[in-house]
């Protein structure tokens, strides 16, 4: 049995407290009126982006393009962006840790459904990481509800003015999508997605624990079936989730491989976290049967999924860049103009770095190498989510400052606390999984 070290608990709580301070001060710092925006911009404010506001009239913000030339409307526009910033920072960080838990759940289901012989010694680690899923689901749901009740405006399409033909702000394109993008249906979908995923997580965890004391393989077989069903459900709902929770930030834009793209980022972050938690537990002497070959396999998955992510990133980017259709290309125009460093920097962090670091077979067995690469991959995928969300909500007024780092720290602390607490709840070795013996002797 694993016991939660007090130091780790304290470490996590410190992160949460410092993070919460960052989040709250982010909300307090956000301007309330346009006059405050003017003051901030005159001061050349701490945003570091004072000079860039000339380009804020992005075409994707339907209905604002014309007015943005007007001074007052411009300040109004910047005000909305700055007010969105702490919300977006919160959303990005909570989604990032949510997607780690969900990706781990999908990876776990794949291991069951594929009857993998190498991974059963890692099942309890994966179950521990997915214990964050219910917590993350509640947080995401609360954030979506806050948006739905107009506490914030990060989901532009939720503004009822946009679909009202009488209004000045009537947006024909968004109105045309309103049979899918409307608040009640959006929330129902969110409930179905989260309900389904959490149900599988609950069932599989329960069966896995029951299997420890069982006489036959009944619970394993049940888990096998549940995993196969879940994977079908998951790939459909994950795709729709990415349209709802990420792509709808840019309601004028659409991309067909977006669901896969989000999935790839999710999987690579999840596998990285599995590898890191495994290495941490192993170094503390808790995972007796985990050897270098297990780490090697996880590192191979990190390597492979990093390339898979890049393949999808590039496919999406290159197809749109090549054809250069105005309605599609604005997505990348704003990202390249306003987010140049994060947009291309993440490709270096998520592709070039892991490919070069993890190509060598020997390096994949060196724990600190995997941890180092893992940190870069995780930061890279945070920036990936940042790049997917921020350009639509805060536009050129972005910065990775107090609200963003505060939100990351808060959710990191929460994640560590929940995951490592869950690891104490059950023995770290699934006792009588049919493949456990093979897994213990796994070597590559």
């Amino acid at each position: 049995m694993y016991t939660l070290p007090n130091k780790l608990k304290l470490f996590a709580i410190i992160f949460m407290v410092v993070g919460a301070v960052g989040i709250v001060s982010g909300f307090l710092m956000a301007p309330k009126t346009t006059s405050e925006v003017k003051e901030m911009m005159v001061d050349g404010h701490g945003d570091g982006h004072g000079g860039d506001h000339a380009v804020v009239d992005e075409s994707h913000n339907g209905g604002h393009g014309e007015e943005a030339h007007d001074d007052e409307a411009h300040y109004e526009h910047v005000l909305h962006q700055l007010q969105n910033r702490p919300w977006s920072a919160l959303y990005v960080a909570s989604f990032f840790f949510f997607m780690i838990a969900l990706g781990t759940l999908a990876f776990y289901a794949i291991q069951y459904a594929a009857q993998a012989g190498w991974s059963p010694v890692l099942f309890r680690v994966m179950e521990g990481i997915t214990a964050y899923l219910p917590v993350a689901s509640v947080i995401i749901l609360v954030l979506l509800l806050l948006s739905a009740f107009h506490v914030n405006h990060i989901f532009h399409w939720m503004d009822p003015e946009l679909v009202n033909p009488e209004s000045d702000h009537y947006d024909k394109l968004i109105a045309g999508k309103s049979s899918f993008l409307n608040v009640p249906f959006f929330l129902i979908r969110a409930l179905i997605f989260l309900g389904g995923w959490n149900l599988y997580r609950w069932v599989s965890r329960r069966n896995s624990l029951r299997d420890d004391n069982a006489e036959d393989n009944r619970w394993f077989k049940k888990n096998f079936k549940a995993s196969a069903i879940f994977l079908v459900f998951f790939i459909v709902t994950e795709s729709m989730m990415s349209w709802d929770w990420i792509m709808s930030f840019d309601p004028h834009w659409f991309s067909t491989l977006f669901g896969w793209y989000v999935f790839a980022g999710m999987m690579v972050s999840a596998i990285t976290v599995i590898a890191m938690v495994t290495i941490v537990l192993k170094s503390q002497g808790y995972l007796e049967h985990v050897n270098d070959s297990h780490i090697h396999d996880l590192a191979k998955y990190m390597f492979g999924f990093s390339i898979f992510w890049t393949y999808l990133w590039f496919s999406q980017f290159m197809l749109i860049w090549y054809s250069n259709i105005p309605e599609e290309v604005t997505y990348f125009v704003t990202r390249i103009e306003d987010y140049n460093l994060p947009f291309f920097g993440m490709v270096v962090m998520n592709f070039v770095f892991p490919v070069l670091m993890l190509m060598n077979s020997d390096y994949k067995r060196v724990n600190w190498f995997v941890i180092l690469t893992g940190i870069v991959i995780l930061v890279g995928h945070y920036i990936d989510v940042f790049n997917m969300v921020m350009p639509a909500t805060v536009g050129a007024s972005w910065f990775i400052g107090l609200p963003e780092i505060g939100a990351i720290m808060f959710f990191f602390g929460l994640f560590v606390l929940v995951v490592f607490t869950a690891l104490t709840k059950a023995p770290l070795l699934a006792k009588r999984n049919p493949f456990i013996k093979e897994s213990k002797h796994f070597h590559y």
Binding site: F314, F317, M318, W321, Y322, N324, M359, S361
Partner: protein, 178 residues
């Protein structure tokens, strides 16, 4: 001094693997082992050095990438920078996404083919090459270990080899020059 070699034939890969370990423990020199299929762990038991072919492949891949970049930079940007469908041919980086599929394929092409050719050259394989097969059964279901007797007593070596489970033992002149 023309030394003699002993051919010991086995009919099971597990027995062979154990025999290889025992022979090495006795510090006899194994010239070669012939097997009909890859025996997992044989190269470790024989103490063979790891292959470096993956490293050559990586380097060939870099060559392929360079060839693709230099080729397309010359053709599309330097030599005749036409406007083709509005694509920006002003600098390589501006038009790079269009070149990536070729860069990728050239990298894979060079890495794969040059590595295969390296493999053929290093293992001396080519068409019309005379097969070096001491016993035809080794391509079907028998395993053959060639042990160099050196200065050891031939009788002693052959009786040791039969104790490791060899089915047949035969003594040959070593006609290869080393």
């Amino acid at each position: 001094m023309a030394s003699k070699v002993i051919h010991a034939i086995y009919n099971d890969d597990d027995i062979l693997l154990n025999a290889v370990k025992k022979v090495r423990d006795e510090h006899y020199h194994i010239e070669e082992v012939y097997t009909p299929f890859p025996v997992h762990g044989l190269e470790k038991a024989m103490g063979l050095a790891d292959t470096r072919i993956a490293i050559t492949s990586f380097l060939y891949g870099l060559v392929g990438l360079s060839v693709a970049i230099i080729m397309m930079n010359y053709i599309m940007i330097q030599d005749w920078p036409q406007d083709i469908g509005g694509k920006p041919s002003f600098s390589y980086i501006e038009n790079m996404p269009a070149f990536v599929p070729i860069m990728f394929e050239m990298t894979v092409f060079f890495a794969a083919h040059l590595m295969v050719i390296t493999f053929y050259m290093r293992s001396k394989l080519w068409p019309f090459k005379k097969a070096e097969n001491p016993d035809v059964r080794t391509t079907d279901d028998h395993f053959l270990m060639v042990v160099d007797t050196g200065n050891h007593d031939i009788e002693q070596v052959s009786s040791f080899l039969s104790s490791t489970g060899a089915l047949e033992i035969s003594i040959h002149e070593n006609d290869e020059d080393h």
